[in-house]
Amino acid sequence: MRLLNITNRYYIAIALVLLVVSSAFLAYRVIYVMDMEVSEHLLYEKQEIEKQLSLQPDLQGFHFVIGDKIEISPIDKFTSFKVNLTDTMIYDEYEKKEVPYRKLTYEQLIDGEGYRISIRKRLAESENLIGGVTLTLILVAIDIIACFYFLNRWFSKRVWKPFYRALNGLKHFDLHKGEKLTFQRSRIDEFNTLSTELSKLTDKVARDYQNLKEFTENMSHETQTPLAVVRSKLEVLLQSDNLKEEQVNQILSALESVKRLSKMNKSLILLTRIENEQFADEQMIDLSKLVHSHLENMEMFILSKKLNLKTSITSGVFMNINAHLGDILISNLISNAIKHGKSGGDLLIMLDHEKLVIANHGPAPVISDDQIFERFKKGDQPDSIGLGLAIVKRICDHCFCEIHYEFKNELHTFTIEFSGDKVQLREEQAANV
């Protein structure tokens, strides 16, 4: 969930709670104040009536004041000066329903006669009142929340802009490209601190990565000469007469290790070189021919493993790639498929201008699908170095091609999806072939 949405959610929830509480309070207060007002008004009217009655003592019967109803009726016996305030419901003929009234009743002596005087005043219906208040408040609430929401969005977007910019920068940060990550300064101290720290961090990561690459390359290069010494000494030793079988075996196993180490070095150097973008010169390479020539080259191994080779290779598929890398890519994939192919199983190779698919039958992999392209992940193959597919992956990354691995129905399948502008089908070439 986005930061903006989270803060907005909290704000809106709080605003809603506040609005409910305050509207309840408001309704209560309005009702209370109006109530007070009515009572006060009635008492005021009482005084007014008393005054008028004392001036015009002959007033009898009903005297109407619009809105309020005053009733004066004689009583037998005056009891007290007590004033009664009561609320009653009275049927309204116009509205055809009972409406609330407040009634003030008191007794008064006029010229020695006792009269009961009652003044009725219609009350605002509390449901109406509450309804009105609620509606108003809801409208206000919607207003506030909407304003709040949009303002907050706008503010947040402005305020958080440097943050999102930094985030975007990080998202597109690619160690392999070796670009420096720079952040724009902003007015907000926290974001500036964040940017500074991120800059430091990415610089350090980039530097470490560079060092690591240099170390790997130097290490691999520098090891080649001592390895050459070891191998040459062992070979000279192997030529000597009167070696015992035991000694020969020792020499051979030492030679074997030298071979492994040397292969590993060469692969590591190649990987580093690809990562360093040292294969810049690209040209259109005839992939179809390349695949055919590698298949021819490895025909013997295919035959000896009795692999059932099935190909569907479109002629004239050209790819813009460094010649050396193209060669390694195809060669590694095919030799991988042959090496791990099950004797007597299928070896499928499909090439067109969209993708290259190489598949072989074999037992289920012991490492997970996403680890298969990692360095030194070689499953249960003790003889392999575990860099061949890592190199393949790097080459694909280098040429912006997608490579997928899948194991299904005992079939290991590698699919390279060419990116559109890299590959073209040359029809005239296809016609010639």
Binding site: H221, E222, Q224, T225, L227, A228, V229, V230, R231, S232, K233, E235, V236, L238, Q239, E245, V248, N249, L252, L255, E256, V258, K259, S262, K263, K266, I269, R273, Q278, N297, M298, M300, F301, S304, K305, H324, S331, S335, I338, K339, D383, S384
Partner: protein, 226 residues
């Protein structure tokens, strides 16, 4: 006898090369820096120079430029720890005849030197003659007692490799790498070598040749003189 100049600053490697090349019947001089090498070049004529590029007092490629001033028939085989295509191309463009990356197999180096030497001195029109055996390097044929016998590509490469390293024990790994390069570690490659050797042996002996191809148990093969 071929005269070779070995230019290599790594003393131990130099000693091994010296010993192996001498045993392969080559006459060797040594230099462990560029200056010495240039002096040697002025003093003697060489058939081939084995040249390490990374020398303490400069790039070995300078020596090739010196050599070209002399306008000689001397071949150059570069020996380098650098394996990139660019390095190879630079070396070859500047006038080297071949390029071997460290760590290399000694028989491979010998085969390269001999091949360079033959190309240089006989302009490719040459045959390797050994008693009743004649191998033509640039065509996939050999003669046994003057009888023309065609060979497969791999048989031909294998025979050349072994005959170039006469009387040396050649390991199967070294043969596999010579024949298949990066694919040498493919399953069964040793079996293929075995069957190639068997076929070659048959082709030679069936036509009255001697059985020169000896198996060295557990190690590899040897082109035996006797």
């Amino acid at each position: 006898m071929m005269k070779i100049l070995i230019v290599e600053d790594e003393k131990e490697l130099m000693e091994s090369m010296l010993s192996f090349l001498k045993e392969s019947g080559m006459n060797c001089e040594i230099a462990d820096n560029l200056n010495d090498a240039i002096k040697q070049l002025e003093a003697h004529d060489f058939d081939c120079i084995v040249l390490d590029i990374g020398l303490p007092d400069g790039n070995g490629l300078k020596l090739i430029q010196e050599l070209q001033k002399k306008d000689h028939q001397t071949g150059v085989v570069i020996v380098s720890a650098r394996n990139s295509l660019d390095d190879r191309l630079t070396g070859l463009n500047i006038g080297a005849d071949d390029y071997v990356t460290k760590p290399f197999y000694m028989p491979e180096l010998v085969a390269r030197i001999k091949s360079v030497y033959r190309r240089r001195s006989f302009q490719g029109k040459n045959e390797i003659v050994h008693n009743e055996l004649r191998v033509v390097p640039d065509e996939m044929i050999m003669y046994v007692n003057d009888k023309l016998i065609s060979l497969t590509k791999k048989e031909h490469e294998l025979l050349l490799y072994l005959i170039n390293n006469q009387n040396k024990v050649i390991t199967k790994e070294s043969i596999a790498e010579h024949l298949w390069g990066d694919h040498a570690d493919m399953a069964d490659s040793f079996d293929f070598i075995y069957s190639h050797v068997k076929n070659l042996r048959k082709k030679i002996t069936d036509n009255g040749g001697k059985d020169y191809l000896k198996s060295v148990y557990g190690v590899g093969y040897k082109f035996a003189l006797e």
